[in-house]
């Protein structure tokens, strides 16, 4: 990282709307992506639920702090701290302070390795797996619905080839005469088979919206999952895929 980068980043951390950093961000891809990552992280952290400490904890901490303040007032705190045995810093910390670059990545890796591992939800694993298996197919499925619908060029409507149209109309007329009775019988059978036993079931149209059945609670919002978890006492609600749940 070059000094201008360092300077820019420090200024951005101090003031996120610092105008003097704009020029550097335009020409430095590293700083631009760093700033975007930082902003995303900041947003994510801001979105975490805020928890309030129980009253009992607040009281206990206040009580203990007041005891410390009393000690501090008498200069006793400083004396007490000085009397504590000195603990030497680990060698890796000294190395990092003296020359951070060669050790930084390995130290970070060790620290990260010590963190508790959180598994991704099974449904996420499945969705990512499906996406990796056939990326093109999933990309098409995801975006095809958003494509603008192409309209028929006006010239195509205005200048049909008359002889072709007439021949087509004759063929269709004959075909309709032959198939019409069969089509009527088939439609009747279809309606009878599908709706004869559903008199009580509400039609989807009754609601004014489409209904989609999902197979995992993780396809619901966190708030819905919170209520669902409460109503089901935190039970497992996804089929056992072999990776969910552990035995005592």
């Amino acid at each position: 990282m070059l000094p201008p980068c360092n300077d820019t980043r420090e200024r951005l951390l101090a003031d996120s709307e610092c105008a003097s950093t704009e020029a550097h961000l335009l020409e430095c891809g590293d700083c631009k992506s760093w700033w975007e990552r930082t902003q995303r992280l900041s947003l994510s952290l801001a979105g975490l639920p805020r928890l309030t400490a129980p009253d009992e904890l607040t009281e206990t901490v206040s009580r203990q702090l007041s005891e410390f303040r009393e000690l501090e007032g008498d200069g006793l705190l400083e004396r007490a701290l000085r009397s504590l045995p000195r603990v030497t810093a680990p060698a890796i910390l000294d190395d990092l302070v003296l020359d951070p670059s060669p050790h930084f990545e390995s130290a970070t890796a060790r620290l990260v390795g010590n963190l508790s591992r959180v598994s991704a939800p099974a449904v996420l694993d499945r969705l990512v797996g499906e996406e990796l298996d056939a990326p093109a197919r999933h990309r098409v499925e995801r975006f095809v619905g958003d494509l603008p619908r192409a309209t028929v060029p006006a010239t195509l409507d205005e200048k049909p080839i008359e002889p072709v149209r007439a021949a087509s109309a004759r063929r269709n007329h004959n075909l309709r005469r032959v198939l019409a009775p069969f089509a009527a019988v088939a439609a009747g059978l279809f309606l009878w088979a599908n709706f004869s036993d559903q008199a009580e079931a509400p039609a989807a149209d009754d609601y004014g919206f489409d209904v989609v059945h999902v197979s995992s609670p993780e396809q619901l919002s966190p708030l819905a999952q919170l209520f669902l978890g409460g109503m089901t006492s935190g039970s497992r609600l996804v089929p056992n895929s072999g990776e969910a749940g552990t035995s005592r």
């Binding site: 059945h213 999902v214 995992s216 409460g230 552990t246």
Partner: protein, 341 residues
Amino acid sequence: MKVLRPLLSVLLIAAALPGCGVESPVGLPGTPGVPAAFQGEWDQIQQAPWNTRYQGERRVTLSVDLESGERVQTQYIERVSSNGQGKFNILPLQAETPVFPDEPTFLTLQGRREGFFFRYRDFRIRNLELFRKNYRHLDAGSSVIVAGRQAWEVRFVRTGPGGRTYAVAFDLETGLVLRCNEYGERGVLLAALEYTSLDLDPDLSGVAFFVPGNDEVSFNLGSGEGQSILGFKPYLPKAIPAGFVLHETASVSDDMGNRWFKAGYTDGAEMVFFLHRERGTETYDLPITAKTKQAGPSSRDEVSVFRAGTVRAAQGTVRGQDMIVIGEIAEGDLLRMMRME
């Protein structure tokens, strides 16, 4: 205070009265022909979890039939504490079956759900008048011992199709529910909760009582207070499942800090929740499966439905309103609550 001692005799009287015996509407105190003085005891039963100072351990069992046909059984032990002045704590202690996703995470998550469990999951008679309309008692009850304490166990059944049956044992001294078994169709056990110990003189000095983490603010819907708290006009569903009435209204926040209107409906015991907020430009957390499609003549809103055993949840955006409905009701009832008239 032997709250339920007189109740025992009343139950026997009720069983003997015409129309108040087996398979009759809940003929407990308050039934015509039964001295009205006993009504007070039901108030005590309704308030017992809040105004009794106690601590006890209990076993919770839940059975959920998934869409895949698999039956998931979850059983664990938890410790419940109440200071008798409205403060409570539920501390999950240990799992007795495989739990999801693993025991430490499960116990941590259960701890976060303590407010919901205490207020809504545990069996309560939330509205006596409605409870008597919607539930019938199947017998006059019997004396049982639960956690070494004398209790009176009565079986109730929810009227209407697919009605669930409850066997509830009330502590004779305090009115606390010491045991509750809930059965579905064909007598399948859906949920069970049973105290294994109960201390009415506990040391609660080390208990960290529940503090709401979702900024919940209750308000009276008619006062206009809700709109100022929420920042939008709360919408109430027009089609309510049969037997349910509005029980409570409040404002709650989701994990992104968005405020939602929460309406809780009850049939006297069970709860159904309706949550709603106006969709704005702010952070939005519903996944893409529940979305409003691009505007156009043929576009329709989409609602996602998930079923877990007898519990159903639906969520989606209907005419610009984000909605979530959750409860042990039929899918049709759930969806009708989301229909904008």
